[in-house]
């Protein structure tokens, strides 16, 4: 479905991603793990069209997307749920969700997506009128994910969904991600909770200073020295 090959990405001229390759097949949950500053978020933002690769190629459903704008990417069916949630604080929960379906022109379809998201996160339904900014951290994360699902994307990219949540909520959030996968969503996950992220993933990639240095099934990666030493403290 998504195929990224040997991309290089620069921030104002300076390369931060040197050589990253990975692919995502339909229905898979793929985890990308790596230390802070290894370039995980940059990779997601590049797929999302906010940044563009200076080398290498990116294909989605066999179409080149390396020069596509964010709007085009969203219309092709990839949504990005950004780090730190970035919900629209002064707007209500439902207004936030409806903005997630901005590209959906069919009202009925939009209502269906709304039902789907409310089914997934019932707490959002009870708070539909509340302003986004007044929700707790966990609820805001649910809202951000729900908003990302509103356009019923073919690929959902989640950037650190458990960031800044208390431990109990971290587990809940990751369970929600697992549920999404079970329901047939294709997910590209970037997580700091390396063990959980790799355990639940079909496959994973390890990123280090802008390079993919390992790939394999979640279990395989958990066995590698670098993951054991650098992330699990074994």
């Amino acid at each position: 479905m998504l195929k990224v090959e040997e991309i290089e990405v620069r921030y104002s001229g300076v390369p931060v991603i040197h050589d990253v390759s990975f692919h995502v097949n339909g229905g898979e949950l793929i985890s990308i793990v790596g230390a802070n500053g290894s370039g995980k978020t940059t990779v997601l933002k590049t797929v999302a069209g906010t940044l563009h690769p200076t080398k290498g190629s990116m294909e989605f459903e066999n179409e080149d997307i390396s020069a596509s704008t964010t709007v085009e990417i969203v219309r092709k069916g990839i949504t990005y749920v950004p780090e730190e949630r970035r919900i629209f604080g002064p707007l209500s929960v439902e207004e936030n969700l409806k903005l997630g379906a901005y590209i959906v022109n069919d009202r009925e379809e939009m209502e269906k997506s709304l039902d789907y998201v409310y089914g997934l996160f019932p707490i959002l339904k009870t708070r539909w009128k509340q302003l986004g900014g007044t929700l707790s951290g966990g609820e805001q994360q649910m809202l951000a994910i729900g908003r990302g699902l509103m356009s019923r994307p073919k690929l959902l990219m989640l950037d650190e969904p458990s960031l800044g949540l208390m431990p109990k909520l971290v587990d809940e959030m990751l369970e929600a991600v697992a549920t999404l996968k079970k329901e047939g969503n294709t997910i590209l996950l970037v997580e700091q909770n390396v063990r959980e992220a790799l355990e639940m993933a079909d496959r994973g990639y390890v990123l280090q200073t802008g390079r993919t240095i390992h790939e394999g099934t979640g279990q395989e990666l958990l066995e590698t020295d670098i993951v054991k030493r650098a992330f699990l403290g074994l």
């Binding site: 906010t50 964010t70 969203v74 219309r75 949504t79 990005y80 950004p82 002064p90 903005l99 901005y102």
Partner: protein
């Protein structure tokens, strides 16, 4: 004191026009975080559009409203796509000086084309008429302007708060990057914000033409009032622009009546100064 009630009523009527003028500035600032110094010149273009359309084709001045709105809209859009878009890539100073340059350009372009003369409309449904109601005398132009300003304000408020496009505009104002992840074409929203700001000024200008002189440098006066109004209401707040517009009307008219007409604009700047010092976020800002 028998002047008090009529002055207050007249001031509130004028305040509605100030609110409309401030609204245009607030929309552009809200979406872009850019202060449009050429804002008063948009008003001036609206005034000349209304004046010329009304005199050249001898039509009722109020019927020129849609034309002035359209011209304002196009002027706003053109300013964004031909100038502001490029300014955004430059340093902060470029953004400041850029719209300042646009202000000077438009002002002296008008001077060049129309000359420095003051012009007034002499015919129209509202012009020169008034209604007497006890001790209160209301001039038709002020009354009509207030009502139409209120309607225009209401329409734009509805557009921003109740439509899908308006929500997208708000999302862009709140967080450009997050808005783009929703598939919102944020570049288009910015252009639209300038268009809406321009259209608002076109309407305000056409209304003002009914009871005020048209001349090339009128922009500076209303631009300063608009800045003070928006600062008072809170930058980017629509509700704030409305309330502050009414307050500004009261300050100018009450000040003009009871302190002296030559001090009334000094009071505007005094208000601005006090707001900046004591409540920089304005009444409804954050």
């Amino acid at each position: 004191m028998e002047m008090l009630v009529p002055t207050i009523i007249s001031a509130l009527l004028m305040g509605m026009l100030f609110a409309l003028v401030a609204l245009g500035l607030a929309i552009i600032f809200g979406v872009m975080n850019i202060v449009n110094f050429a804002h008063g010149e948009f008003l001036m273009v609206g005034m000349y559009t209304a004046f010329l359309t009304a005199t050249v084709f001898s039509i009722e001045p109020l019927l020129t409203l849609p034309i002035a709105a359209m011209v304002g809209f196009l002027l706003g859009i053109a300013s964004y796509y031909f100038l502001v878009r490029y300014l955004l890539k430059g340093p902060m100073l470029a953004q400041l000086l850029g719209t300042f340059g646009l202000m000077i350009f438009l002002r002296y372009l008008a001077m060049c084309i129309f000359g420095p003369d003051y012009k007034t409309l002499e015919q129209g449904v509202l012009i020169g008429k008034s209604i007497k109601w006890g001790s209160v005398v209301l001039s038709y132009p002020r009354l009509g302007t207030a009502v139409l300003s209120l309607i225009a304000f209401g329409i734009i408020y509805w557009l921003i708060n109740r439509t899908r496009l308006g929500k997208a505009l708000q999302a862009t104002a709140l967080d450009v990057e997050a808005a783009s992840y929703m598939g919102i074409d944020t570049e288009r929203m910015r252009g639209l914000a300038w268009g809406l700001g321009g259209a608002t000024m076109g309407i305000a200008g056409a209304l003002l033409t009914n009871f005020y002189y048209v001349f090339p440098t009128i922009g500076i006066l209303f631009c300063m009032i608009a800045f003070a109004t928006v600062a008072l209401g809170g930058f980017g707040s629509i509700k704030g622009a409305f309330i502050a517009g009414l307050i500004m009307g009261l300050i100018i008219d009450l000040g003009g009546t009871y302190i002296g007409p030559h001090h009334k604009f000094a009071l505007v700047y005094l208000t601005y100064f006090l707001v900046v010092v004591f409540r920089p976020q304005g009444l409804f800002g954050w």
